[in-house]
């Protein structure tokens, strides 16, 4: 931290803030969407599935541009929100939104797989013991899918830390407001003599990614052992 230039340090702290918010805000809808896709049969299920996975397939620039058009100051969603004082375009909140949307497919996928692995007969058993549906979800389903939720959260956190294309298109690259780790590395590489700072940030990026991966392994493994009943 101490060895970093101030812009680089700001970029790291902002990236952490943006990614944490992105993960925290997308967890509840992520669990809901994963549950709906894994368990419910409803009209539009295929459409929802496609929509969730779209950011994975679209060029990130396109996703960023669509966000700008939709959530921009004159966009169909952005304009009414701006009236309420909620602004996304060119703010850190916008960076968080872009990161959340780009990381959403990874999160939903991990959680959905864990929900599909839950034996519905365990939930039936809980029902015969007197537990209502919401209680069964809270005391049986949720604990059993916790490893998937943790894995999904850490994966999407790592993805959010590295998000570049959609972020720079939607909220630009404003130091201190929307300049995240990747966009800062890009900015340093554009100016003569910036390689040293860029290299330092690259090192930080690698460290953050490795930490997230290690944490995911350790925490995921521990939780899996806990819920496997041994």
């Amino acid at each position: 931290m101490e060895g970093l230039p101030p812009e680089a340090r700001d970029a790291l702290l902002l990236s952490l803030k943006v990614s944490l918010w992105a993960v925290a805000a997308s967890l509840p809808p992520g669990v809901l969407v994963a549950f709906a896709l894994a368990r419910w049969r409803f009209p539009g299920r295929g459409l929802l599935n496609g929509l969730v996975h779209l950011p994975l397939i679209l060029p990130p620039v396109v996703t960023g541009y669509l966000l700008l058009v939709t959530f921009g100051p004159r966009g169909p969603v952005g304009a009414p929100l701006a009236e309420l004082g909620i602004v996304f375009a060119f703010r850190w909140t916008g960076a968080a939104l872009a990161a959340a949307i780009m990381a959403f497919p990874l999160m939903v996928r991990a959680i959905r797989l864990s929900i599909e692995a839950v034996d519905p007969r365990l939930e039936q058993a809980a029902g015969t013991l007197g537990a209502s549906r919401p209680w069964v979800f809270a005391t049986v389903t949720l604990p059993l899918i916790l490893p998937g939720i943790v894995t999904g959260a850490i994966l999407s956190f790592a993805k959010a830390m590295g998000e570049f294309g959609a972020t720079i298109t939607f909220v630009s690259n404003i130091p201190g407001e929307t300049q995240t780790l990747p966009t800062a590395i890009y900015a340093f590489l554009q100016v003569p003599g910036g390689e040293a700072a860029a290299l330092a940030l690259v090192g930080v990026s690698v460290a953050v990614a490795m930490t997230a991966l290690g944490l995911s392994e350790v925490l995921g493994g521990w939780l899996t052992r806990r819920v496997s009943g041994r």
């Binding site: 007969r121 029902g127 015969t128 007197g130 537990a131 049986v140 819920v227 009943g229």
Partner: protein, 361 residues
């Protein structure tokens, strides 16, 4: 307790049409796999909605498709003991046992729990995880978990089918205690004649989705036309009393004044028990046999002779201890001139009465 069941349900090409009522005690749904037993249990528990039907427990209508009544499973207070135990893997044994308490209205009263834990012998397992339990231990915890939710009725869906013979012998007495000590009504699903003979107060025999026989256990099991038993598994159940234990490893039973000798059983003298005598272990003799190794001879009069396909016939012999079934060849029956009303003796080797065929009443 009374349970009244009327069900019509279709699953693909399979049609279930079951009407029966279950009085106090243990009612066994008896049938081969695919006869519709599990569908009946699922409908009573509320795990499936029947196409049409009416289920009434103790006067409370749980399901009546004609009037649009349907109580969800968690409000039925019907405990289910599943074949695989179905314990929650993320909870300890204690956590599993406690799961239903919150809804049972017992609150903090732990005395009942202590009694059930003691009865099932699961005290030493409380802190363990389900993954670290043997099949028999899982089965016992599953029974305890269902009981502690204070059910009005226990459904047991082939709870022993996944266990080996030794584990079955370990668990079956617990169901006998549920019936005799806890006095909770039980609807028990089985395809094993020995289990039915030991547990059932009432038997409802299902075949191809229909009820083919219904009544007291001794009567239904003595009826060779009841399909689920199958000709091989057929056997009569006698209600007997333990008369004495002998030093040579045999116990003497009193079957309506006739002495029966069986391998030593751990019951006190005077206890009323049941023995099942498999039909294919019975030899018929016109005279009282002499100079023969078999110890058990029950005199009687032939009530019925039923021929099936193949070379065998099933003979029902009314003896002082109850009806005994004998499966013999048609050739023997003709050579001996057996007919309804003929006096004959049923001869059974002591060792032919298997230990799992002897149980409490």
């Amino acid at each position: 307790m009374s349970l009244e069941v009327h069900l019509r349900h279709r699953l693909g090409a399979f049609r279930l049409k079951a009407d029966f009522s279950a009085p106090r005690g243990v009612t066994v749904l008896f049938g081969r796999s695919g006869s519709g037993k599990t569908s009946v249990v699922d409908a009573v528990a509320g795990l499936i909605r029947p196409d049409a039907g009416r289920i009434v427990l103790d006067g409370e209508v749980l399901c009546d498709t004609a009037r649009g009544v349907w109580t969800p499973p968690h409000r039925r207070r019907i405990g289910v003991v599943f074949q695989d135990g179905r314990l929650f893997p993320h909870l300890s044994v204690r956590g599993n046992l406690d799961y239903g308490r919150r809804f049972s209205g017992w609150g903090r009263d732990r005395s009942h729990e202590a009694r059930i834990v003691e009865m099932l012998g699961i005290g030493p397992l409380l802190e363990r995880r389900p993954g670290a339990l043997s099949g028999g231990e899982k089965a016992r915890v599953g029974i305890g978990r269902a009981l502690l939710a204070r059910p009005r009725l226990i459904l047991a869906d082939e709870p022993l089918a996944a266990l080996d013979e030794a584990r079955k012998a370990e668990i079956l007495p617990y169901f006998e205690r549920l019936r005799d000590d806890v006095a909770v009504p039980i609807l028990y699903v089985s395809h094993a004649a020995a289990e039915v003979a030991r547990l059932a107060t009432t038997v409802v025999a299902l075949d191809g989705g229909r009820v083919v026989a219904e009544g007291p256990a001794a009567r239904v099991l003595a009826d060779p036309t009841v399909v689920p038993a199958g000709i091989r598994a057929a056997g009569a159940v006698l209600e007997v009393r333990v008369a004495a234990h002998h030093d040579d490893g045999l116990s003497e039973l009193d079957a309506g004044g006739v002495a029966l000798f069986v391998p030593r059983i751990e019951r006190r003298v005077g206890a009323a028990i049941r023995v099942r005598i498999p039909a294919q272990e019975v030899i018929l003799s016109l005279e009282h046999p002499r100079g023969m190794s078999a110890l058990n001879v029950l005199p009687g009069r032939i009530e019925a002779i039923r021929a099936g396909e193949g070379p065998g016939v099933m003979v029902s012999l009314a003896t002082p201890g109850g009806t005994v079934l004998a499966r013999i060849t048609r050739r023997s029956a003709e050579r001996m001139g057996l007919d309804v009303g003929t006096r004959a003796h049923a001869v059974v080797k002591s060792v032919a009465i298997a230990r799992e065929d002897v149980g409490g009443r």
